[in-house]
């Protein structure tokens, strides 16, 4: 596939690895967080960590949409789906995300709730049109990439005067999460800077542009390199970060310049600004309540807000106490540090959200990384 294969070229990635190896200062450590689950997946899938010098460490961030959704919001969605008049439309990843006490939308569906997987918000609109007697609710989750498609669907529903379509909105914002990680006490308590730079998201940045990250470079002195999702993209971004650290620079650089501009997608941003507004705070799995990090529908679109139509009340539910998803999402622990990992918690029976989506740190490590753990154990 054009613009994909070129950036999956193994030879290119290996030569970049050589370049990184000769660029690093052996006395220095380089800890880079890839914020986005798409990068976590690419790093694991292509074994990029094995190509890096030992003093270059990748820390997985919280940018996996289903991972950061707290159990309480899943419980709320299950309650909604259990209403006899409701058809709940969800992205496939959400089906197995654990709510409290082993609940999931998949189990709710097995018990008879009308939960349907959709590929796109437009599929949910089509269901609402075809089944006017059903209350069709779209369970909206994700970062700046999935928010504009939800906005388009709400506008379409308003234009078509679809009285049986609403959205359960759980959209969250990338920059607020990055800020919370940078201010997290666990990261400060280490005594010195735990993170030496960020790989910025690919798809999110096509929408928001590079401009929102400028704050992190200025305020927190952190280098940020926006990177594409292919392995060569990630390797080039790591090289760019290494050079910034070596030079003592903290700038926003854009490796994914073929798709990302400074201003982002103006039309998509306008759609979102028209329909959504900031919540005072929103709870994230792993990060807790984060101020101004989530969106809700504006009053003008209240008719399409499931939380208002069904008078939904907030539920806060604890995660499985043995699950380390929280620390993993903050980058404080690695999947193999969790005693549930690979024992009771696998992608078949996830106990925590990080094991669900292919973008989750635990699922990526389970699929591609656990063999390396085994080799290391056998070698030692």
């Amino acid at each position: 596939m054009k613009y994909v294969d070129e950036f999956r070229d193994g030879k290119l990635a290996r030569t970049l690895a050589t370049e990184i190896a000769s660029a690093v200062d052996p006395a220095q450590s380089y800890r880079f967080m890839e914020f986005c689950g798409g990068h976590t997946h690419a790093i694991s899938r292509y074994g990029l960590e094995d190509m890096l010098p030992t003093n270059v460490q990748m820390i997985h961030g919280p940018g996996c949409p289903v991972c950061v959704l707290p159990a309480g919001r899943i419980d709320m969605a299950i309650q909604l789906a259990e209403r006899p008049e409701v058809t709940l439309c969800v992205y496939g990843d959400l089906m197995r995300v654990p709510g409290s006490q082993g609940a999931s939308l998949m189990r709710a569906k097995a018990r008879g709730a009308d939960v349907r997987m959709v590929y796109s918000t437009l599929d949910a609109i089509a269901i609402a049109e075809q089944e006017p007697d059903r209350e069709v609710v779209f369970f909206a989750i994700g970062f700046e990439t999935t928010t504009p498609p939800t906005a388009v669907a709400i506008r379409l529903a308003a234009r078509k005067k679809l009285g049986n379509f609403t959205v359960f909105c759980n959209h969250v914002l990338t920059p607020s999460a990055i800020q919370t990680i940078l201010e997290s006490p666990e990261i400060r308590d280490i005594g010195r800077v735990e993170i030496d730079g960020f790989i910025g998201p690919a798809h999110v940045s096509t929408v928001i542009g590079t401009q929102p990250y400028e704050f992190f470079a200025e305020e927190f002195g952190q280098p940020v390199v926006i990177a594409g999702f292919e392995p060569v993209d990630v390797m080039q971004a790591i090289l760019m970060l290494v050079r910034q650290v070596n030079d003592g620079r903290h700038e926003i650089e854009n490796q994914y310049i073929r798709a990302v501009t400074r201003g982002g997608n103006v039309r998509a941003k306008a759609e979102v600004a028209d329909i959504f507004e900031l919540r005072d705070q929103f709870e994230w799995r792993g990060l807790g309540p984060v101020p101004y990090s989530g969106l809700r529908l504006k009053a003008a679109y209240a008719d399409y807000d499931a939380e208002r139509r069904f008078a939904m009340t907030d539920i806060t539910a604890p995660d499985n106490p043995a699950c380390e998803c929280g620390s993993i999402l903050r980058g404080a622990k690695k999947p193999a540090d969790c005693k549930l990992f690979g024992t009771v918690c696998t992608p078949e029976t996830p106990m925590g959200s990080c094991m669900v989506s292919s973008e989750g740190a635990c699922a990526a490590h389970w699929t591609y990384g656990r063999f390396r753990d085994l080799q290391r154990k056998q070698a030692s």
């Binding site: 596939m1 613009y3 796109s120 437009l122 994700g142 999935t146 498609p149 388009v152 490796q255």
Partner: protein, 62 residues
């Protein structure tokens, strides 16, 4: 709406979020929506930078 090809698989996606799209353009697809166009010149420039570093082969794998 527009028809896209993903490595031989055809799929109809929404192009409501982007402007000035022509048949033959390359786009980034996410949850059934085209999020942005891929700029062929910038893509080539990125590969050219790698080549200048002396790390890229003249022909990328296809």
């Amino acid at each position: 709406m527009a028809r896209v090809m993903l490595d031989g698989v055809g799929k109809v996606v929404s192009v409501a979020l982007i402007e000035d799209l022509k048949v033959g353009d390359f786009v980034v697809i996410h949850v059934g929506y085209a999020l942005t166009k891929i700029d062929p010149e910038e893509a080539e420039r990125t590969l050219a930078i790698l080549r200048e570093l002396g790390v890229a082969q003249p022909e990328a794998a296809s």
